[in-house]
């Protein structure tokens, strides 16, 4: 059972393995980790309460195949809490990628996480997405990434220009 035992670590390898199975089963085209946990790949750790998995849907309808994803993972023992699927008490949000986030999935960095293949948004995309959202926590995230991560400034400038975005005043 996927939720049989709570753990004192985040079940991220299990989340990545499940996302890989969604690709193998043809429910989604591709996926990558975004949001706060993707930022933590590049910067100091901070508190966050869920994982954001961005996926390129196979199903191009408005629902983007989300009901099938929920159904598949519930059969594996995941629980549903609101808009989150929950594995070992850790909430995961599956978000259909489009536009900037779809490009972020396609350009994501491939990593190995404790033996499980995974993809993480590039730092430049995390900055661009944060710039597009513009909340206070997004400004903090941009500041952290610009000071702690190795950011390809020309890649970022091109990304911001193509998506008509500007960095906020920090």
């Amino acid at each position: 059972m996927a939720n049989a035992q709570p753990s004192n670590n985040l079940p991220l390898a299990g989340v990545f393995a499940a996302a890989n199975r969604l690709v193998e089963s043809g429910l989604i085209v591709d996926w990558a980790l975004g949001g706060a946990l993707a930022a933590i790949y590049y910067v100091e750790p901070f508190t966050t309460y869920d994982a954001d998995i961005f996926f390129i849907p196979r199903d191009q309808s408005l629902a983007a195949g989300i009901p099938s994803i929920f159904s598949c993972l519930q059969k594996e023992g995941w629980q549903v809490e609101g808009e989150h699927l929950v594995l070992h008490g850790f909430p995961v949000q599956f978000l259909a990628a489009a536009g900037l986030t779809e490009e972020a999935v396609r350009e994501a960095e491939s990593i190995d996480f404790e033996g499980t293949p995974a993809k993480v948004f590039r730092a430049e995309f995390i900055i661009a997405i944060a710039a597009s959202l513009g909340r206070m926590k997004d400004k903090v995230r941009i500041q952290q990434l610009l000071t702690q991560a190795e950011v390809d400034k020309s890649y970022l400038a091109d990304l911001l220009r193509r998506h008509k975005l500007e960095l906020p005043m920090l």
Binding site: N8, N9, L10, L12, L37, I40, Y41, Y42, V43, E44, P45, F46, T47, T48, Y49, I111, F113, E114, T147, Q148, A149
Partner: protein
């Protein structure tokens, strides 16, 4: 925290940083922040 310490933490392996996030979550759950109003009430006594 000093910038060089932050930089050092940022360069740790991802799996190690995820373990630290899990610890931060446990701490936050064990010691939830009190709403400011409660704190203010406590101080005004």
């Amino acid at each position: 925290m000093k910038p060089d310490m932050r930089q050092k933490l940022a360069r740790e392996p991802f799996a190690e940083k995820i373990r630290k996030v899990a610890q931060l979550i446990q701490l936050a759950k064990a010691f939830p922040r009190r709403p400011r109003r409660q704190l203010d009430n406590g101080n005004s006594r």
